[in-house]
């Protein structure tokens, strides 16, 4: 059996805006725990677009991939790459960890056209105009939420998975109104304790969600 390939996008552009690696650290630990749940029979790529294209191994089964930037993005959240379609082509699952960056919007469009399973983490707070106006979360095959309040809001939607955890968008930062390259000042707090997240459990649950989501299309194909 070939290993599952999962692409993680989102949260990484905020690191670019701030100069630290809060988004990458969270996604790396999450991906590491998912990979462990897969007994490392998977490859997870954390994908973003940046000025220094590279691919590097972060942990067993977890890779960091930076695609070459297209043009000169006005804000970190406007970054995109012509190489994004090719970067997603081998993925079985595309998991978007935010819904407000250009890379995530493009990845959603590309992944749906490429008939990938799309998973979206919804934090239930203001995303960008496009995401709200077009209800882009409805395009996802699975919506993951970490708060009960968000899960309640999404009640009645198809395929909503509630994975309780102390993961909030405010911790990673909410972009200020475009074209500001900064976060809303009250978000992405500095000098406070890192929220405690029990990643091994999250990893196991996400692995089960991915496996179930992948079984859907395979059943259709069969």
């Amino acid at each position: 059996m070939s290993s599952t390939i999962i692409a993680y996008l989102g949260l990484l552009d905020g690191d670019e805006a701030c100069g630290d690696a809060r988004g990458e650290e969270h996604l790396t630990r999450l991906a590491e725990s998912v990979a462990a749940a897969y007994s490392e029979e998977c490859r997870i790529e954390l994908i973003s677009c940046g000025k220094s294209p590279r691919i590097e191994l972060l942990r067993p089964g977890v890779w960091r991939r930076v695609l070459p930037l297209a043009g000169n993005p006005r804000t970190p959240w406007d970054a995109c790459s012509w190489e994004l379609p090719a970067a997603l082509i081998d993925a079985d699952i595309v998991h978007l960890h935010d819904a407000y960056s250009r890379t995530s919007e493009l990845a959603l469009l590309i992944a749906k056209q490429q008939r990938k399973v799309v998973c979206l983490t919804d934090y239930g707070v203001a995303a960008n105009w496009l995401t709200i106006e077009l209800e882009l979360a409805k395009l996802a095959d699975v919506v993951v939420c970490h708060s009960m309040e968000v899960a309640r809001k999404l009640a009645g939607w198809k395929n909503v998975e509630f994975l309780p955890a102390d993961i909030e968008l405010a911790w990673f930062g909410i972009p200020a109104e475009w074209p500001s390259p900064h976060f809303v000042s009250s978000t992405r707090p500095q000098g406070v304790a890192v929220p405690h997240v029990y990643y091994p459990s999250l990893g196991r649950e996400l692995q089960a969600i991915y496996a179930q989501a992948l079984a859907g299309p395979q059943e259709v194909a069969a």
């Binding site: 379609p85 493009l106 469009l109 056209q113 395009l139 194909a221």
Partner: protein
């Protein structure tokens, strides 16, 4: 079968052979008891309402040279993006037609100018079967907004889009694929056609000593080689031949060609006759008003209906050696082929005027082959077979119309911001 036809233009609103052929096939399919609906654009000229034609699509300003020339760069870029890439309004119109009409298959024609990739993406999302008549390199055009191929779009088209293509020549396929757009699925080459009743065989062909009557028809521009014909006339005249005439029928789309006969001193041999209906032209061919149809068109000509119509009545085709229609006929058997130059065309005419080239066997053979193999009645069964074959494809894994429309809206918004972002970067540079 229930067949939904998509075309950017539809007669009486038309530019060239692509749309005229579309109407002919639609009429043919209706005549064979198929349920056909045409989805096309709001007309650029007044058009009478017809029950099977829905003119709800929006056409982007891609054929309006008057406005395009006077527009700002950014405006043009936006038009090119919505015309070639995606227009969510048109996707919604298509979704409504699919829901209301419930076709078995979609029959695509020229979908440039109506957000063609978005319409194709919509059918791809819905796993809806289609057959695409390629009278030109439309897939390449769609992947090239601003006439500049976007490799990433071409690559994704090649990777994702699979269907039943009916190109009019191998040249069309080669040109599409040479640009980096690969066609996946069935490629079933099929020529253009003629209509009408087969007449009695032509009895009189050109004989040496009589005036040679040359005709050409279509858009009067340099891409069709009108300048080469004028130069060929001058070469003939310089060599002492004056027993020939060249009649040119069609709109003068390139104003620089109109003064050429006078400039070359052949205004008494070469005549612009203006636009002429297809019916009137065919009438002139049937009355044997001409001996030769000259077609010095550009080498990328996908096919060329005009010479086919003329040759059906024994008017011998003299054509650019590598144009699309040339694939279907043999030099020296059905037609004359020449290098695309004034000298080569002058030499071909000279051979006829000198009696070295006998037009009669060429004309007879071409006429017989065209009435036998190139009549729409002979080709319609193949078209039906293609449509049936496509309609039989399974539709497992189809998206919902809601998701498909939402994706079209997302694609449209992203296209807008990307084009604007690129424009801002270019302006800053």
């Amino acid at each position: 079968m229930r067949i939904l036809v998509l075309s950017n233009l539809y007669p009486p609103d038309y530019i060239g052979g692509y749309e005229l052929c579309c109407r002919q096939v639609v009429d043919g399919l209706l005549g064979r008891d198929h349920d056909v609906r045409v989805l096309t654009t709001t007309p650029r000229v007044p058009c009478p309402a017809e029950e099977h034609i829905d003119r709800s699509f929006k056409l982007t300003n891609c054929y309006d040279a008057y406005c395009i020339l006077r527009s700002q760069r950014m405006t043009r870029r936006m038009w090119e993006a919505s015309g070639n890439l995606v227009d969510a309004h048109n996707v919604q119109i298509l979704l409504t037609a699919l829901e209301e009409f419930r076709p078995d298959v979609v029959y695509l024609w020229n979908i440039a100018g109506i957000g063609g990739l978005g319409l194709l993406g919509c059918l791809h999302q819905l796993r809806f079967p289609w057959v695409w008549y390629l009278g030109d390199c439309v897939p390449r055009m769609l992947c090239s907004p601003g006439k500049r191929l976007l490799p990433v779009i071409a690559e994704e088209f090649s990777r994702q889009i699979r269907g039943y293509y009916m190109p009019v020549s191998q040249r069309v396929v080669q040109e599409i694929e040479a640009a980096g757009v690969r066609l996946k699925g069935v490629i079933d080459t099929m020529p253009n056609w003629i209509l009408g009743e087969q007449p009695a065989p032509r009895r009189h062909y050109y004989s040496k000593g009589r005036p040679l009557r040359i005709v050409s028809a279509g858009q009067m521009g340099r891409h069709k080689g009108i300048d080469l014909l004028v130069e060929a006339a001058r070469l003939l005249k310089d060599r002492g031949y004056d027993n020939f005439s060249i009649d040119l029928y069609g709109k003068v789309t390139d104003p620089t060609v109109f003064p050429l006969p006078a400039e070359h001193g052949v205004a008494d041999r070469v005549f612009f006759r203006g636009a002429c209906s297809q019916q009137e032209l065919v009438g002139r061919y049937a009355d044997h008003e001409f001996d030769v149809f000259a077609f010095p068109t550009w080498e990328r000509e996908p096919f060329g209906c005009a010479p086919l119509e003329a040759a059906a009545y024994g008017c011998v085709m003299v054509m650019t050696q590598s144009c699309g229609i040339g694939e279907w006929f043999v030099h020296g058997v059905h037609c004359l082929k020449a290098e695309r130059s004034a000298e080569a065309f002058a030499a071909a005419f000279q051979g006829i005027l000198d009696g070295r080239t006998d037009l009669e066997p060429l004309g007879r053979r071409a006429s017989a082959a065209i009435w036998r193999d190139f009549h729409l009645d002979a080709l319609l069964p193949r078209i039906e077979q293609a449509l049936e074959s496509a309609a039989d494809q399974p539709r497992t894994g189809a998206s919902t119309p809601e998701d498909t429309y939402r994706l079209a809206l997302l694609a449209e918004r992203l296209t807008t911001v990307l084009v604007q972002g690129e424009n801002a970067a270019t302006t800053a540079a």
